[in-house]
């Protein structure tokens, strides 16, 4: 760990509560949210902080997630530092508005406590919800433990509000597996956060004294250019994200990267996982390394903008890449992450064979043994040539 300069306090805390404290430390000014499992504890606690006068913010209770995100647009347009959180059906209900948030460049920060989509009704964790919102034009990152959830919830505001970015950001954390666990983490103090994150200065805002039009319609002559502008801005946000992560790294000693590497030195076999199961996979990698298998782990932290170069650098030299998805693209290629990863690697002259395994749908438990089993199966499949487009690991019947 690098040297750190920030004043920090080690605490035990439920991860949801840690996220709500991060939002408090970031001095969010406007929150609108609708409670949905497993996001509930985050917004409940924020609501308490506001009601108790510990956070000077407007907390708007709404009747749905569609209203929550719409209200956030209004508050962000008025110039407030704006936060919301949701899960699953709630994110799906927000869907039409999510595109508007990013295209209108409102730097709203949202936590998604990832959860499966109905039907059948499941309150448990997977990444179906966020994969359904892949193309909404937001910055999207994934975290793997409570510390990362806290860190990224603070950093998100600084990334989003940069005038060269001005894009909304989603911090994805696994529902229940992270949101409902009490664990140890380091909280940074208010003075450090205040210095790191100055007050939000909107570039444009709704103000009756200086009227502006927001959300005008676009004729065919301009719509494509607006989309290109969004595309370029989102792609270029990469540099600003890294700058913020570097600054946080210097403060806290915790340095984040778009593609995190774990024991990838000389690895011929690589696993790629997003979210909290990456830590479970680390244990499996340790055990397989002990047995002499040259296996390593990549953790895709930055999902949007997609870190093409980092990924290509990270797989260099590997012969087999096993992508473990937490969602199923029905009737298609299987895992949405595998699909994008394979596509990103396609232009490389020397590239690993890429196989997709879908794990942990709807809260199905994944243990290190499962990961080792997947590696064994993938090795066999790679030696014989792929038989299937993807594998729904552990499925019965």
């Amino acid at each position: 760990m690098a040297k750190k300069t920030a004043a920090a306090k080690r605490v035990g805390m439920e991860v949801s509560i840690a996220v709500s404290y991060a939002v408090q430390l970031a001095r969010a000014e406007a929150i609108a949210a609708y409670p949905i499992t497993p996001q509930t504890h985050i917004v409940e606690h924020l609501s308490s902080l506001v009601a108790n006068g510990e956070l000077d913010a407007e907390f708007v209770n709404v009747e749905s997630e569609h209203s929550a995100i719409s209200t956030c647009i209004g508050m962000s347009a008025a110039g407030a530092r704006t936060y919301t959180a949701t899960s699953s059906q709630g994110l799906a209900l927000m869907n039409e508005i999510l595109y508007i948030v990013s295209a209108m460049r409102f730097p709203i920060v949202m936590t998604v406590a990832n959860r499966a989509l109905s039907a059948p009704l499941s309150i448990w964790n997977d990444h179906s919800d966020i994969m359904g919102a892949r193309d909404i034009g937001w910055i999207q990152v994934f975290v793997e433990n409570g510390q990362e959830a806290f860190d990224h919830s603070v950093m998100a505001f600084k990334i989003a509000e940069n005038h060269e970015v001005l894009l909304p950001i989603i911090v994805n954390l696994d529902g229940f597996i992270l949101s409902h666990v009490v664990e140890a983490l380091e909280m940074v103090d208010q003075a450090t956060v205040d210095k790191f994150l100055p007050p939000y200065v909107p570039l444009h805002r709704l103000d009756p004294r200086n009227p502006v039009t927001m959300g005008a319609f676009a004729l065919p002559e301009i719509y494509t250019e607006v989309k290109m502008n969004h595309q370029v801005t989102l792609t270029k946000s990469y540099d600003h994200i890294l700058k913020v992560w570097d600054e946080w790294g210097k403060l806290t000693g915790r340095q984040y990267h778009p593609v995190e590497r774990y024991r990838t030195e000389d690895a011929k076999i690589l696993l790629l996982i997003m979210g909290s199961l990456a830590e479970v996979a680390e244990i499996a990698v340790d055990e397989m390394r002990d047995q002499g298998l040259p296996v390593g782990l990549l953790k895709l932290r930055m999902w949007r903008p997609f870190p093409f170069k980092d990924l290509r650098d990270a797989v260099n030299g590997a012969e087999l890449l096993i992508v473990c998805d937490r969602a199923l693209s029905l009737g298609g290629v299987g895992g949405p992450v595998m699909s994008e990863v394979r596509s990103a690697l396609y232009p490389m002259a020397q590239k690993p064979a890429t196989l997709g395994y879908i794990i942990g749908l709807g809260g199905r438990d994944v243990n290190p043994g499962n990961i080792k089993d997947i590696v064994a199966r993938a090795q066999q499949e790679a030696s014989q040539g792929p038989q299937e487009e993807f594998h729904l690991y552990g499925v019965r019947g």
Partner: protein, 185 residues
């Protein structure tokens, strides 16, 4: 790493227990995870809660499948949940019961090491209610030494405020009265 599974009924405070003990362990500088069995739990229905404690960051994120310890808040769950079927061979059962070691072995067919305390009676007398979650923590600490008894004071204070003293007294009484079997051969 020590892995403990709590068996209780919705409303008996199993989840609160694991959280309190996780906080106590973290305050001692250890690492811990406390979490419920994820789901729509209901009052009175059987529930599980999980606790991992280690000296380093815990990366395991799955359910506890081969616990070192099972703690049973409500003996009526033994027939329903069969809590000891996946308990490690050298594992420990911490049970709320007025029965003796011999009676427990005879009635439930347990083969593991036992730590027994009549938490119902202690809770009724000290707390005035038959809610045994904090009381049973005293038994668990006695049998495992996983944290110091005094380390429970701060988490109890944070959680229960004015009721913390009563809960700590019940915990301490259970700590003193728990009968921990010598290691079985």
């Amino acid at each position: 790493m020590l892995e403990i599974r709590f068996h209780g009924r919705g409303g008996q405070g199993a989840v609160t227990s694991v959280e309190l003990l996780a906080l106590a362990a973290i305050n001692e500088g250890k690492f811990a995870q406390g979490f419920p069995s994820f789901g729509p739990e209901r009052r009175g229905a059987p529930v599980l809660a999980f606790l991992r404690i280690d000296d380093r960051h815990i990366r395991l994120r799955c359910k506890i499948e081969a616990p070192d310890v099972v703690l049973i808040l409500d003996p009526s769950l033994i027939r329903i949940q069969k809590p000891t079927t996946d308990l490690k061979k050298d594992g420990l059962i911490v049970l709320n019961t007025p029965k003796s070691t011999e009676e427990v072995r005879r009635d439930f067919g347990f083969h593991h090491k036992l730590a027994l305390v009549d938490a119902d009676t202690i809770a009724r007398e000290v707390l005035g209610v038959p809610i045994t979650n904090t009381t049973m923590l005293g038994a668990l600490i006695k049998a495992t030494g996983v944290v110091a008894v005094d380390s429970m004071q701060h988490p109890l204070q944070e959680r229960f405020g004015p009721l913390a003293v009563k809960n700590f007294n019940a915990l301490k009484e259970a700590y003193e009265k728990t009968v921990v079997e010598e290691a079985r051969p």
